[in-house]
């Protein structure tokens, strides 16, 4: 069951059941639900109240070095990331669907999380 605010075509047809180990920047230790709020949930007005495939997805990396490089860049730019940490999580299909969506980091993926899932429980802060 996907969140009600997801648009009809979300997750996209090309997405696959979540699997493998991924990395995400989080604010809390241990990771909490707030770390897994979609951009649309956090600020719908910022998107003119229009949910899209993109703003309903969460960014994760398959390569921890990509997360580290991004964190290094963002922590010096956006203050929110100053105290961010990298959390490692082992995904399984109950945690949603995933699709590779490369940015500057080739291992960037988007993750769409079902309504009942609690992904923060499988993510651990890396030392």
């Amino acid at each position: 069951m996907w969140p009600e605010f997801y648009p009809d075509n979300c997750p996209p047809a090309e997405a696959e059941p979540a699997s493998g180990t991924v990395y995400r920047l989080v604010q809390y230790d241990p990771a909490q639900a707030q770390d897994f709020k979609t951009p649309f949930e956090k600020n719908p007005g910022r998107f003119d109240n229009k949910p899209t495939i993109k703003n309903c997805g969460l960014s994760v990396h398959k390569d921890p070095q990509d997360s580290e490089r991004l964190r290094e860049r963002l922590k010096n730019r956006a203050r929110k990331f100053k105290n961010s940490q990298i959390a490692e999580g082992r995904l399984n299909p109950t945690l949603g669907m995933i699709k590779q969506t490369p940015s500057l980091e080739q291992s960037h993926h988007s993750l769409w999380v079902p309504l009942e899932a609690e992904p923060w429980l499988v993510f651990n802060i890396m030392s």
């Binding site: 007005g45 910022r46 109240n49 960014s59 010096n76 730019r77 960037h108």
Partner: protein
């Protein structure tokens, strides 16, 4: 009113052109409004109440330089072309509209900007398309040198490869050699080579036009006032070219550049005269107060080469300097004199030993000295291998 970072009344409705960095949402991207105006946008801050975004208006040329990594992301926002940034504060509370204001870069906290040296380094076609050199110089903060080469017997916009490579190679060599004077160096070091390096930006019609640009960008806060080193070298080169084949003008303009520049300049003229009927140079600087033009005919080039050869072979260069005597030995006939620009170290001429001021010279005292500069060439390559100085006269 809903807050949408792509729908800002002052900027118009924006469309993302390219997302450079994405984390849950685009955090660094370029966008364009309906009128074609480009902006580089970065997520600068986010807290419990709002997000802050910075928009820097960019020309297409400058965006290419940012994209390719020549201009780093810090300078893209700290030194915007327009001189100001647009700051958007986007509240999470839907009931409140976004807040837009124009800010000077120095009003933005450094920790909201990308760190200096952060570059996109994306493969980019940076060849200019129909843009004026003034626009490239200004937006790219680079010194631009346009060469118009009228090759003998060529009637199309084409250039024979070997002569062209000789001309461009010897042009870079003369710029490097002038650079050694500014850096007070006896030779072209790696640092000088890097600082003085010119890059080929493009070619075009108009006989055969070659557009070169300083590889390093001009620092807005220091080079603009004092002139970039490579810009100063281009200025000296244009001075030499404008001296044409006037012996006295050439002597005067070479005076402070030292003899080694004469050798390098002669080689450059030789490469031109072998294949070009005439040539024109146009220098455009990011500083609108600087720039200039020069031109030479084949006859002027050949005459100037003869004069320069005479300078080197028959007339060792003599010049007067004022500096502090740092060391001297009458028995060994050696001296070391330091000016604000250079250290001169060499032999004391026999006739100078007859001069009272030389015999009674005091260390750490300021003197005016007449110096003779001679060069030694390598027998195999003809390149200058050493520059020697001889003290001819000393006075207080």
């Amino acid at each position: 009113m809903m807050a949408d970072i792509l729908n800002i009344p002052m900027l118009g409705r924006l469309k993302i052109v390219e997302t450079f960095e994405y984390y849950d949402q685009p955090v660094l991207f370029s966008c364009k409004n309906a009128a074609g105006r480009l902006y580089l946008v970065v997520a600068a801050d986010e807290n419990e109440r709002n997000e802050t975004w910075l928009y820097a208006g960019v020309s297409e040329e400058r965006l290419k330089l940012i994209r390719s990594g020549l201009i780093d992301l810090h300078d893209a926002f700290a030194d915007p072309e327009d001189g100001f940034l647009v700051r958007e504060i986007v509240p999470y509370n839907n009931q409140t509209g976004l807040r837009t204001d124009f800010v000077q870069p120095d009003q933005i906290s450094e920790d909201m900007l990308p760190i200096p040296g952060e570059r996109l380094n994306l493969k980019t076609d940076t060849l200019p398309a129909l843009s004026s050199p003034e626009e490239i110089a200004k937006s790219g903060r680079r010194e631009i040198l346009n060469l118009t080469l009228n090759f003998d017997g060529v009637f199309r916009t084409e250039a024979p490869l070997v002569p062209l490579s000789n001309i461009l190679g010897s042009l870079q060599a003369v710029i490097n050699t002038i650079g050694t004077v500014f850096y007070k160096s006896e030779q072209v070091t790696e640092d000088i080579r890097r600082e003085m390096q010119l890059s080929l930006l493009g070619i075009g019609a108009g006989s055969f036009d070659v557009r070169l640009a300083s590889t390093q960008i001009v620092n807005l806060f220091s080079d603009i006032d004092y002139g970039s080193i490579v810009g100063n070298a281009i200025k000296e080169l244009l001075n030499l070219l404008n001296a044409g084949s006037d012996q006295e003008e050439l002597r005067k303009r070479l005076g402070h550049l030292r003899l080694k520049v004469a050798n390098s300049y002669a080689k450059f003229l030789k490469s031109l005269s072998e294949s070009v009927a005439d040539t024109k140079f146009t220098w455009v600087s990011p500083n609108p107060q600087r720039g200039g033009t020069a031109g030479l005919s084949k006859l002027q080039m050949r005459n100037a080469i003869e004069i320069l050869q005479r300078f080197q072979e028959e007339e060792p260069l003599t010049f007067t300097i004022t500096g502090t005597l740092m060391a001297a030995s009458l028995p060994a006939k050696t001296f070391l004199l330091q000016t604000t620009e250079q250290i001169y170290k060499g032999a004391i001429a026999d006739e100078a030993l007859e001069i009272e001021a030389v015999r009674t010279a005091t260390l750490s005292k300021e003197y005016t000295a007449k110096i003779q500069e001679t060069i030694q060439k390598s027998e195999t390559t003809g390149e200058i291998s050493k520059t020697k100085y001889q003290l001819l006269k000393l006075s207080t």
